[in-house]
């Protein structure tokens, strides 16, 4: 396998992304969006698409940049640093990976739409408070040549802004079984589909979707009937790895802000960063971030090189990232003291997003259990 170090190309990509996001999507942009009730900034996504980010996983023959999962992780990490909100994860990572695993011209066209920045996707997966794909109950019943979808999805990231929805539906079996699930790719404006935004703490676009007999024609079925997992498994692997990278970036972002504060802020007539108890905690946090960074790089590497073995690498990355981001935001808030508790300060945004990122696509316990299972216990 290749090295876990960034290549020169990757370093350039990282620097370019950082430079762009610092200017185009700093934390103040998130604040402005929140105060305006906007889940994200559509203009930002157009710019990202122009830089090839939307097509980071789209094959070149569909107009993509095909940079791979390590590159996706780098972009995602940098978005975490500034808490940039965009359809990147749902569209460019999750949907693009699912579509790549679906054969045919229809999937190729959809991928081209993603790369062009014209189509955005939401993944409608979970129906309860926890990430449990196999517990899907939303039914897709045969109706003529197509299907009719009925049921509800919740915590759908980018659910109100996406132009299309990937929806996991039950075509057979019963809730709890991984078999009997099918994946549909439908227009977000289709009749019978209603979308309601949830007022989540991270101020991003999460929605509840209600399907009231939504029609899906044959062409809307992605891959084979009853075989959603063939597409969804790699799509989730890719999404979980990118989300882990975002959380690692978030940890780096809040920790950089905290270190800056420790150096500037004076109390009891000295810089608070000179207090050894805080120094040791900051050093410990840095160590945790370093170790998580390795797990993130490894997940990208495994997805690019031996994707069939990705479960262990991906869950390891997500478990580490959730814990590390949690430590980073808790230390960040505590070390900032009162000022960090005020809404005027940015620290709180990191804490809120860290909590949402920790839950989305499987929490720490979910991924730690998958690591254990992959390691035979």
């Amino acid at each position: 396998m290749t090295s876990l170090l960034d290549t020169e190309e990757e370093i350039m990509l990282r620097d370019a992304a950082r430079g762009f996001l610092d200017g185009a999507a700093p934390v103040s942009a998130l604040r402005a969006n929140r105060d305006a009730g906007r889940p994200c900034d559509p203009g930002l996504w157009r710019e990202m698409a122009q830089m090839g980010w939307a097509g980071v996983l789209v094959p070149e023959d569909a107009g993509g940049a095909e940079m791979g999962h390590r590159a996706a992780g780098i972009l995602s990490h940098e978005m975490g640093v500034t808490l940039a909100a965009s359809p990147f994860l749902s569209t460019a990572v999750i949907a693009a990976t699912a579509l790549r695993h679906a054969a045919g011209a229809r999937a190729r066209d959809a991928l081209a739409g993603i790369a062009a920045g014209e189509t955005t996707y939401a993944l409608a997966l979970d129906e309860g408070a926890r990430h449990l794909p196999e517990h899907t109950a939303l039914r897709a019943e045969r109706a003529g040549n197509g299907y009719r979808l009925s049921g509800s999805k919740t915590f759908v990231a980018d659910g109100t802004t996406a132009t299309r929805v990937l929806v996991l539906a039950r075509t057979g079996g019963v809730p709890g079984e991984a078999e009997g699930l099918s994946l549909f790719d439908i227009d977000a404006e289709r009749a019978g589909l209603s979308r309601a935004r949830l007022d989540t703490v991270d101020a991003r676009d999460h929605a509840r979707l209600d399907f009231d007999g939504v029609e899906a024609i044959g062409d809307d079925l992605l891959g084979e009937v009853d075989d959603a997992m063939r597409l969804l498994r790699p799509a989730l692997d890719a999404g979980q790895a990118a989300l882990a990278a975002e959380l690692a970036g978030l940890a780096n972002g809040v920790s950089a802000m905290t270190l800056g504060y420790l150096k500037e802020r004076r109390q009891f007539d000295r810089a608070i960063g000179s207090f050894q108890a805080l120094q040791h905690r900051a050093a410990h946090l840095w160590a945790e971030i370093e170790v998580t960074t390795s797990a993130i790089a490894n997940a990208g590497r495994v997805l690019d090189e031996t994707p069939d073995d990705a479960t262990l690498a991906v869950s390891l990355a997500k478990a580490r990232a959730a814990k590390t981001a949690d430590l980073a935001v808790r230390e960040g808030i505590q070390m900032h003291g009162g000022i960090g508790m005020t809404d005027d300060h940015d620290a709180g945004f990191f804490m809120k997003r860290a909590r949402v990122g920790a839950e989305w696509l499987g929490d720490y316990g979910y991924h730690a259990a998958r690591v254990a299972s992959a390691r035979g216990f």
Binding site: D126, G128, A129, R130, T154, F155, L198, D199, T200, V201, D202, H206, R265, Q267, F268, F275, A277, L278, D326, R330, I333, Q334, G337, G338, I339, G340, M341, T342, D343, D344, A347, G348, M351, K352, R355, V356, A358, E359, W360, D363, Y364, G365, A368, A369
Partner: protein, 392 residues
């Protein structure tokens, strides 16, 4: 009301009879909520007539400040009598008739440090719920270093001229008066040039602005002083000796905040709470392990509160060990809420979702280990004053 010198059991009977006769039924055994608290003050509006009636009856008997002298509207009770009163009120589900920073903080400070005129002028309006007080300690940029007071009070002969700014003044926008630390000597060492000053919030030059927290709206304000003229009689204690009063009140405050953890989730187990949030969550070994640990620590901490309370009531005081209660209680409470958030999964991520205000409460707990002295300051106090570890 019973006479002061009376046998405990007789006292208990008389108190409980009085409560049953006087506390309106509509108030009894109601769950505590933000709007069931009576803060009093010039601009106070009661939720209903029963709330007003209960305050009027209680203050007449001195029950808003049971141990204060009767001449100031207190109840003149002994420590043991007050304990019996609280026990009976709890048993009968009678709410406190009045809560206020005046009762908790300023009153004790005036009783210990104030002169006769100050006590006579300020204590009765507190016990009667007529004047609502707020506390002006923290300043922008001072953080844990409370002695770093920049708000200055210049001696202008017949009055002080106050200029500066306070932050974290709870309910400053609703209070009638403020007690504040001000700097009266800029050349003295940090702790020596501070005085303790009382100011009417209606004095020209005082303005307030509410602070929004990461958890949403808050009672906290910024308070600005722009050439505020304060009569010299409003200085409590000696000039430049205000830090003694501040320290006295800080220890007091610490015990109150640390104690918060005990009652927050009532007597129910964390496991029961988690089951309500998601009845499958406890099957996850990670959540189960953390729930067991937090339950063990919560119960042991409740016993510790009881032990310290007994110690204080036995006359032993708590002193610097109160720093431990503050530290442990607030850190434990943060852990409990982190666990509840994990257990509730994505349902807990909405500001007002299936679990109501859980997310806001979780974020609010993060301030517990900052306000009233940070956890780091508490650990410093334990290390230096309890364990007597050497200074650098």
């Amino acid at each position: 009301m019973p006479a002061p010198a009376i046998e405990p059991e007789q006292f208990r009977t008389q108190i409980s009879d009085w409560i049953m006769d006087n506390c309106p039924a509509s108030l009894r055994n109601r769950p505590m909520s933000e709007d069931s608290i009576v803060w009093g003050g010039r601009r106070w509006t009661f939720r209903d007539d029963d709330q007003r009636l209960w305050l009027e009856r209680a203050r007449q008997e001195g029950l808003t400040a049971p141990r204060w002298p009767t001449e100031y509207g207190g109840g003149g009770m002994t420590r043991d009598q007050e304990k019996i009163l609280r026990e009976e009120m709890a048993r009968l589900g009678a709410p406190p008739p009045l809560e206020s920073f005046g009762l908790w903080m300023l009153g004790p400070a005036l009783l210990a440090f104030g002169n006769e005129a100050q006590k006579a002028r300020h204590l009765p309006p507190i016990t009667q719920g007529e004047i609502r007080w707020c506390q002006g300690y923290s300043e922008p940029g001072a953080g844990s270093d409370l002695a770093n007071v920049q708000t200055r009070a210049e001696d202008m002969g017949d009055h002080y001229l106050v200029n500066g700014q306070k932050v974290w003044t709870s309910y400053a926008d609703k209070a009638d008066w403020i007690f504040a630390l001000v700097r009266t000597d800029r050349d003295a060492p940090k702790h020596k040039g501070i005085s303790f000053l009382l100011m009417d919030m209606e004095t020209p030059g005082i303005t307030t602005r509410p602070i929004r927290l990461i958890s949403g709206k808050s009672p906290f304000c910024e308070t600005f002083f722009d050439n505020v003229k304060v009569p010299k009689e409003n200085l409590v204690g000696e000039v430049n000796r205000g830090w003694d009063i501040a320290k006295y009140l800080l220890t007091h405050e610490r015990e109150m905040i640390g104690g918060g953890a005990r009652g927050l989730l009532g007597g129910r187990s964390l496991g029961a709470f988690i089951d309500d949030l998601d009845d499958g969550a406890l099957n996850d070994p990670v959540i189960r392990t953390e729930a067991m640990a937090a339950e063990v620590d919560t119960l042991a901490f409740a016993m510790t509160m009881e032990r310290y309370k007994d110690h204080a009531e036995a006359g032993g005081g708590v002193g610097n060990a109160s720093a431990m209660l503050k530290y442990y209680g607030t850190e434990l409470n943060k852990r409990r809420y982190e666990l509840l958030m994990s257990a509730a999964g994505s349902d807990a991520l909405e500001w007002d979702g299936p679990h109501g205000t859980l997310a806001a409460e979780w974020l609010r707990t993060k301030a517990n280990s900052i306000e009233g002295g940070t956890s780091e300051v508490m650990l410093d106090i334990i290390a230096k004053r309890v364990l007597e570890l050497p200074s650098a």
